[in-house]
Symmetry: C2
Subunit: 133 residues, 2 copies
């Protein structure tokens, strides 16, 4: 990963609402959520959410897909993994103590917390199958 992309991802993550947004979408899983649902859940105005969503999508941390009149957002796991890998490997050179600090197990996170609230579209509305530009 280039440094410029890493900087874009770190800047995108350095904001409370956007961190909440990532957490929500990680919990939701690959199905993702439509923008309006995210706005209601996080209590954000439509325009503010749209601003945050596009910041995260431009940074490669989210994917979006237009479905009917909704736009469904989901985390881009590869993008999230890449920025963490950048910090761990490129930046910290796999420094043994850094690695030790962040690779401890977390038995306190129950498995069901990881993929809750899967989003289901109303019947009859299929996905378009391609990622939005």
């Amino acid at each position: 990963m280039e440094q410029s992309k890493a900087l874009a991802a770190l800047s995108a993550l350095a904001h409370g609402d956007r961190l909440d947004l990532i957490r929500l979408l990680v919990q939701t899983g690959d199905g993702g959520l439509p923008a309006g649902e995210i706005a209601r859940t996080l209590g954000l105005s439509a325009s503010r959410l749209s601003f945050h969503l596009s910041a995260l999508e431009q940074a490669g941390l989210l994917r979006s897909q237009k479905v009917a009149r909704n736009v469904i957002y989901a985390v881009d796991a590869a993008g999230l993994g890449a920025i963490i890998a950048y910090l761990l490997n490129d930046c910290c050179m796999e420094h043994p103590e850094v690695v030790a600090c962040c690779r401890h197990d977390r038995p306190d996170i129950p498995a069901e917390a990881r993929l809750r609230r899967p989003f289901r579209l109303p019947e009859g509305q299929g996905a378009e199958g391609s990622t939005k530009t």
Copy 2:
């Protein structure tokens, strides 16, 4: 780790010069480097470097120690590990694909690259043994 601390750390990391600074100090190891040496290595003005150093130290990513007329800076491995752990565990809930993306081995980083250029003080100048406020 609280979200406010994570945000401070992410903001501090979202800057090219500061990422270079972390990389340099990770490579240098626990001995650290004095501010002037860092400024010369990275080609930064003294005031600009001081600004970046205090941003990183306030975010808990560096430690400093006054030694003779120098201030020696070194990475805070626990702090660096904590922000990576925050992203991986608290934010991404150990999402399997995210974890898979960032835990691949990196045999391309030679071991000697991790702790090069250890800094040695001129003889007779001992450390004060306490971290600067």
